[in-house]
């Protein structure tokens, strides 16, 4: 080798990069990665996907304006009924341990009726994050985007309900999530 040292290094780096790149593409085509939902991702894939998701949601939801009346009882009531109709099958309700969907989906839908977990978000941040997730959904997971059939107000109602959900007893949940006959807004 007559090349000076820096050039040699660049050359071996680029060879390495090409080998890794080709190897990666080869792996993708090989069909070796397990796609079955009943086998969890390996730690590396999990880390990549989780970081990708969390960074993306943080960036996209940071400027969302949370309504001032997010704690109102009217929002709670409206959100409770919608949650029960559209979300409880995956995200469960007080007193319920699992469902076919909560067991079978991967990534698994978090139990939103359980005590709040890892996310140490402050309340505003949590509300922004939840609003964004409900409206836009999460790619490559069972979480649908609900924004096409539901306006922002209805989504905020569900965000409001989610805030109280872990504290509800099964009886309270039943009352709040039922659709009273006056629920169609006759007053």
């Amino acid at each position: 080798m007559t090349l000076s040292k820096p050039f040699g290094c660049i050359r071996c780096l680029s060879v390495a990069a090409i080998v890794i790149g080709l190897g990666g593409i080869g792996f993708v085509y090989s069909g070796l990665y397990p796609m079955h939902a009943d086998v969890p991702h390996n730690d590396f894939t999990y880390w990549v996907l989780e970081t990708l998701r969390e960074r993306s949601i943080d960036r996209a939801s940071g400027n969302i304006q949370v309504p001032a009346d997010i704690d109102s009882s009217d929002r709670l009531l409206a959100g409770g009924a919608d949650y029960n109709d559209m979300c409880a099958g995956c995200h469960l309700s007080p007193g319920q341990k699992d469902s076919d969907l909560s067991l079978g989906l991967y990534p698994a839908p978090p139990n939103l009726a359980a005590a709040p977990g890892e996310h140490g978000d402050e309340p505003t941040q949590q509300a922004q994050r939840r609003f964004w997730i409900i409206k836009h959904g999460i790619k490559g997971s069972g979480m649908p985007a609900w924004g096409s059939g539901h306006d922002d107000d209805r989504i905020w109602n569900m965000v409001a309900f989610l805030e109280k959900l872990p504290a509800l007893s099964p009886e309270q949940y039943q009352i709040l999530s039922a659709r009273a006959e006056t629920g169609d807004g006759h007053h």
Binding site: D71, S72, S73, D74, L76, L77, A78, G80, A81, D82, D85, M86, S148, G149, H150, K164, A167, L168, S169, E171, Q172, Q174, I175, L176, S177, A178, R179, A180, E181, T182, G183, D184, H186, H187
Partner: protein, 121 residues
Amino acid sequence: MKNLIITILTLFSIMALASTAQAHDPKEHMKDAEKPNCAAMKDMDHSKMDMNDPVMQAMMKQCMASMHGDDEASEASPGDHDEHMKHDAPPNDDETSAAPDDNHHEKPEASEETPGAEHSH
């Protein structure tokens, strides 16, 4: 011209179909909706009930609607409902503001304890 009409009609029917498929109108659920089981409220620990708690207020509203759905209370404004809610507070709860329209609300008090109170109409 005929083609245009057909196009427009097709578009409209597609739109109609699409809207029934995606728009999730709360009314669609009314037929199979569960009614609130308000009888369960009387088993809850009344001393722990906080009337300023939105959860409590929401439960009160829900149960007001199902119990007085067909009397004049249902015509009242939501603001009015708040007064009714305080009314159903257990006696040991401080009653700060006396509602002016007390009287018509004393009688249903008894019916709240009976399962029959969840009548349909």
